[in-house]
């Protein structure tokens, strides 16, 4: 009861004291709310879109995994189906279900591929949930039809809708070289398996699947349900009965490695979008600080009439909380608009970079809503903390003071600056802390400390800049500039805060420009040197099916009998796990490849290394692989591939920007010797005459390949492939660019609001200047010079901070979250264009403030306040 009464009283007072005051100056509050809600909206929508991807990924994986306890797989290959019988005979194996899946292409529809699952409907019953729309499962007759009628499928409703067909319709599907007519028996009701890939999924009987895909006697995996009392010993028995190269593993390994990669990306974008919120924090700070400072007299009166210091403190904390809450509420509709655009982009980025996800709608998660509300509130309350403490210190006696309003006493700016420098010095050691398991926390902490350190420098730097430029100011801008310098020199925290916001935004801008430029330049170099080849050949849908299907026989025959002036590099590519990390194992013909392509070595001896690689004495690994696994030159690469044990020294580490995990390169000849796997994953064709590669010859060759085996292989020109790589790159960074622009907008709002507030707050001073003989022009010029000094300081420190940040991004954060680094390069051209542009924008943000001058008539000087 008393609690209720006192909270009631508190909010009553808060409403009368704070809200009414804000309502008197709605413009200021609106700018702050707009800033904070933009920040919150970006943060929320980014998190929600990635969450949707993560969610859909997890759901797909869980539904596919079902309730299996263990799975039998063969890394880099398939499992013989004959194992099912012996496994089922084991007393502690309750059920076993062979399982196959692949992406197939609906013929001639122009629609994208979808997932086709093949299993034995009876054996699979205990593992996975699925229902038909118009019949119950006890209605055995219908779902056994899947076995009864060859080439029949059950399909998810979204897939049927997409293809524009309905049950009992036929459709033609393609897989590598084969195509066949299927009939849709029935639609799946949307639960269980039908939720995989958002419903773009179909199931068929295992026999149909194998016949259609030409996989005879093999399955992708066998799922096992074990007795709950199964012992360690018995599990070892299963291990032993499995042939060499076939493993018994946990069912969710792929899901975990996928999840880890998506989470790293989520963290990355979260941090990036958090910057907008962080900049919004400066906005909240500047308004709450203004309210506290300009209402000192009122606070003193409140205090002298009995309000406790604590009450005053909480009133200002509540102001922060108010901005957080209302800003967040405004952010909801904005985020739903943002999210609509982000959802697709984020989903596609995750699909190309890491694992395939398909998202079509946002999933609201209580946790994500909690995170976004919590973050926004936290940021806003934190921003209000310092002004609230200041307000708390107002003495009741001040109510009796009259006359000259005291200039906000200067915080010891030097003390702050020294703390800032200490923070900046901490950045390097912080960033070198090894990250705990793919979680790039130290890198982000270092980034935060860097921003904080530079923001702390702003007050002192403003003083210095004002002091150093004083003679120049007087010379260039006469009295107005001199006055501006004097003001900026001693204005203290208020100007420092908006400069801090500018530092943050300029730093982020510079760092991202540098990073994206370095990244792109490196990827371009990599695409031109490492992604070598004039024509690339691989099985149809090899990418989406992760090279599970080798190049067809007739294509192999074609290339073996080719007598053109070309060299052929044959490679075998397998998608495997090394511990918890997904990677690609690629065996290639070193002697051919190295004649035309090359690597950027970051570790290892390139001179001796190449020969050793050709001799099959070791492997070359990508940076991503090295960073994810913690292995480097001299360490052993140890794993079993298709039943063969590999134990090879790592000869070198090279840059590689292939998506979906790291890469390990090995000699094809030696791989074939060891494993007996003579399949081809793909072929690179090089024209021998490098001086002039006749376009015509390339096209002719392509046409010949298509003629011979176009039904089973994809033919891509090297130039096309390299262009596609850069296109993916640019698309990936489109999201980054948007986030960046929003952060800059919020910073510009910050400048506008701070300068406006500075003008309003000083209307008495400005009028005094007018009264003692300053002209309107001089006073406007003064505001302009103030803005100029602030922008100059902010941009200067922002550039320094940005350069430091770009090192962090390139060498720490990218390494920690994605495993790669790139050649550092400043994008001088872009920066040279954008810095003046930022100065102009920031100065333009001062225009409302300059126009605001003398909204208060000068005669008000003579009125008592």
């Amino acid at each position: 009861m008393t609690l209720f009464r006192s909270t009631n009283f508190f909010f009553g007072l808060f409403f009368r004291f704070s809200i009414r005051h804000m309502a008197k100056f709605p413009g200021r509050a609106l700018v702050v709310l707009l800033g904070i809600s933009l920040g919150a909206a970006v943060f929320t929508s980014v998190r929600l879109s990635i969450h949707a991807s993560l969610n859909s990924f997890n759901q797909s994986m869980e539904m596919i995994t079902g309730i299996a306890d263990r799975v039998v797989t063969r890394p880099g290959g398939r499992v013989p189906e004959t194992l099912v019988g012996p496994l089922l005979k084991l007393p502690y194996v309750k059920s076993a279900s062979p399982f196959l899946y692949t992406y197939v292409q609906p013929a001639m529809t122009g629609k994208s591929p979808f997932l086709l699952i093949g299993f034995d409907p009876i054996l699979d019953r205990p593992f996975r949930k699925w229902q038909l729309q118009n019949s119950t499962l006890s209605d055995q007759g219908i779902w056994l039809d899947l076995m009864r009628f060859p080439y029949s499928i059950f399909a998810g409703q979204p897939l049927l809708d997409d293809l524009g067909i309905k049950p009992q319709d036929g459709l033609t599907l393609e897989h590598v070289g084969q195509s066949a007519g299927f009939i849709v028996l029935e639609a799946l009701s949307s639960e269980g398996l039908a939720l995989v890939e958002g419903g773009r999924v179909a199931i068929t009987d295992i026999a149909t699947f194998q016949e259609f895909t030409h996989i005879w006697g093999e399955v992708d995996r066998i799922d096992l349900l074990l007795d709950s009392t199964v012992s360690e010993n018995q599990i070892n028995q299963i291990h032993k009965m499995l042939p060499e190269g076939i493993t018994l593993g946990m069912p969710n390994e792929d899901q975990l490695s996928g999840q880890r990669m998506i989470s790293a990306y989520q963290l990355n974008l979260s941090v990036l979008s958090f910057v907008s919120l962080f900049v919004g924090m400066f906005l909240v700070y500047s308004l709450v600080a203004l309210n506290a400072a300009s209402r000192r007299k009122e606070l003193a009166i409140l205090r002298s009439t009995g309000a406790s210091a604590k009450l005053i403190f909480f009133i200002f904390i509540a102001e922060g909380g108010f901005f957080g809450l209302v800003g967040w509420l405004i952010a909801i509709p904005i985020s739903s608009v943002f999210a609509k655009y982000l959802l697709q982009g984020v989903g596609e980025t995750i699909s190309t970079l890491f694992v395939r996800v398909s998202v079509d709608n946002l999933t609201l998660s209580a946790w994500e809503i909690f995170v976004s509300l919590g973050m926004t509130m936290f940021i806003s309350v934190l921003a209000a903390f310092q002004p609230a403490r200041e307000a708390m210190k107002v003495f009741p006696k001040e109510a009796m003071d009259i006359g000259q309003p005291v200039a906000t006493h200067r915080k010891s700016s030097r003390y702050l600056a020294i703390t800032g420098v200490l923070f900046i010095l901490m950045v390097w050691p912080l960033s070198s802390i090894p990250p705990p398991e793919n979680f790039p926390f130290p890198g982000y902490l270092a980034t935060f400390v860097l921003f904080l350190g530079f923001s702390m420098l702003s007050s002192w730097s403003l003083e210095m800049v004002a002091k150093i430029t004083e003679p120049a100011l007087l010379y260039l801008g006469k009295e107005p500039a001199w006055l501006a310098g004097r003001y900026v020199h001693s204005s203290g925290m208020r100007t420092a805060v908006s400069v801090g916001a500018l530092i943050t935004a300029v730093a982020l801008f510079s760092a991202l420009v540098i990073m994206v430029h370095s990244f792109r330049r490196t990827v371009e170099l990599w695409a031109n040197q490492t992604v070598a080849g004039d024509i690339f050949i691989r099985s149809k849908m090899a990418d989406i099916n992760r090279y599970k299907d080798p190049v067809s026989q007739n294509a192999m025959v074609f290339f073996n009998n080719l007598d053109e002036p070309v060299d052929i590099d044959i490679y075998r590519r397998l998608f495997l796990n090394y511990g918890k990390n997904l990677y690609q194992f690629e065996a290639l013909k070193w002697d051919v490849y190295l004649r035309y392509g090359s690597f950027f070595w970051t570790e290892g001896n390139i001179k001796t290394g190449l020969q050793r690689l050709k001799n099959g004495e070791g492997v070359l690994v990508s940076e991503v692989f090295a960073n994810r696994t913690g292995l480097g030159v001299g360490n052993l690469f140890q794993t079993s591939i298709r039943g063969t044990w590999f134990e090879l020294p790592i000869i070198g580490v090279v840059r590689d920007y292939r998506t979906q995990g790291g890469v390990v390169y090995y000699s094809l000849e030696h791989y074939q010797d060891k494993t007996g796997d003579l399949n081809w994953g793909g072929v690179r064709v090089f024209f021998k005459d490098r001086e002039k590669i006749p376009d015509e010859a390339v096209f002719q060759m392509r046409n010949r390949i298509i003629e011979c085996c176009g039904d089973s292989v994809n033919v891509t020109l090297g130039t096309q492939l390299r262009e596609a790589i850069l296109k993916i790159f640019d698309e990936t960074f489109a999201i980054t660019t948007i986030l960046l622009l929003i952060a800059l907008v919020v910073a510009a709002l910050g400048i506008t609001s701070t300068l406006t507030v500075l003008v309003l707050e000083r209307s008495r001073e400005l009028n005094t200047i007018l009264a003692v003989g300053g002209s309107y022009g001089q006073i406007r010029a003064m505001i302009f010079w103030e803005a100029f000094l602030m922008v100059l300081t902010g941009e200067f420190l922002g550039i320094l901070c940005g350069i430091a940040l770009s090192y962090l991004l390139v060498f720490v954060i990218n390494k920690q979250s994605f495993g790669w680094t790139f050649l550092y390069g400043m994008d001088l051209k872009t920066l040279a264009v954008s810095y003046p542009l930022i100065i102009f924008t920031a100065l333009a943000a001062a225009i409302p403030a300059i126009r605001m001058v003398f909204k208060q008539p000068p005669a008000n000087l003579l009125r008592e306040r």
Partner: protein, 239 residues
């Protein structure tokens, strides 16, 4: 209308009239009502006069000073100060007028908190684009005269009320204006400091070249007045 007390002064008036108001009015237009600040003021003041402007709070003293200082424009009637038509002059002209012709002293000092004492004093000189050195010299002299030499590098926040007001007086004098206006200059000061300030005003008018108008509701300036004006509800009263 001229308070008719001295024939000699009337004779001099034709040449040395420095402030002339005719049917001067200032009405504040508010959302809901019109507030009378001043109404129908007729006033002639000649050079060298020390005018004490009296009246209760709200009677229009500040409004009149604001008009004379060209901080505001009349809503009706005519006002000419030191040859400047306050009603119709361009903004540029008014700026020049404020620089050259008037010095203003406020009740709450209105020093710029980010400038030190010396800089506050020099400011009008600099704004008027006068030669830096001569402004500096003049400021030094004023500091000396006001007993503020030791305070030149202090900031307003470090001064007492009396010191702030003396700084403000020096600022009002730096450009050697013909008219000095003071609105309740002792309103925020104790009696000792009030007396010091009044003594300073007395010294300013000593040579008879400056015209001084002090608005106050108290009697503190009565002894230096050569002319007294009473305002009530925005209108001049004749006693």
């Amino acid at each position: 209308m001229l308070p008719q007390n001295d024939r000699q002064r009337v004779a001099k008036m034709a040449i040395d009239l420095i402030i002339k108001a005719e049917k001067l009015s200032r009405i504040y237009v508010m959302e809901s009502a019109h507030v009378v600040g001043l109404t129908n003021i007729n006033l002639d003041i000649v050079v060298g006069e020390t005018v004490v402007l009296k009246g209760e709070s709200g009677s229009g003293k500040s409004t009149l000073l604001a008009l004379i200082a060209a901080l505001d424009r009349p809503t009706d009637g005519e006002l000419s100060v030191a040859g400047c038509n306050i009603k119709n002059a361009t903004e540029d002209r008014l700026t020049r007028f404020r620089r050259e012709s008037v010095g203003m002293v406020f009740q709450n000092f209105n020093l710029l908190p980010t400038l030190n004492v010396n800089e506050n004093i020099m400011l009008p000189g600099l704004l008027a684009r006068r030669d830096n050195l001569s402004v500096k010299k003049k400021a030094d002299k004023l500091l000396q005269w006001l007993g503020l030499s030791g305070r030149a590098n202090h900031f307003p926040a470090q001064l007492s009320g009396g010191e702030m007001q003396r700084t403000a007086i020096a600022r009002a004098l730096i450009n050697d204006p013909a008219i000095v206006l003071a609105d309740e200059p002792t309103g925020n000061l104790d009696s000792r400091n009030s007396r010091i300030v009044m003594d300073l005003f007395q010294e300013i008018i000593g040579n008879g070249k400056k015209t001084l108008i002090i608005a106050t509701h108290s009697t503190i300036a009565d002894h230096i007045a050569t002319m007294r004006l009473y305002l009530k509800d925005g209108a001049l009263q004749f006693l």
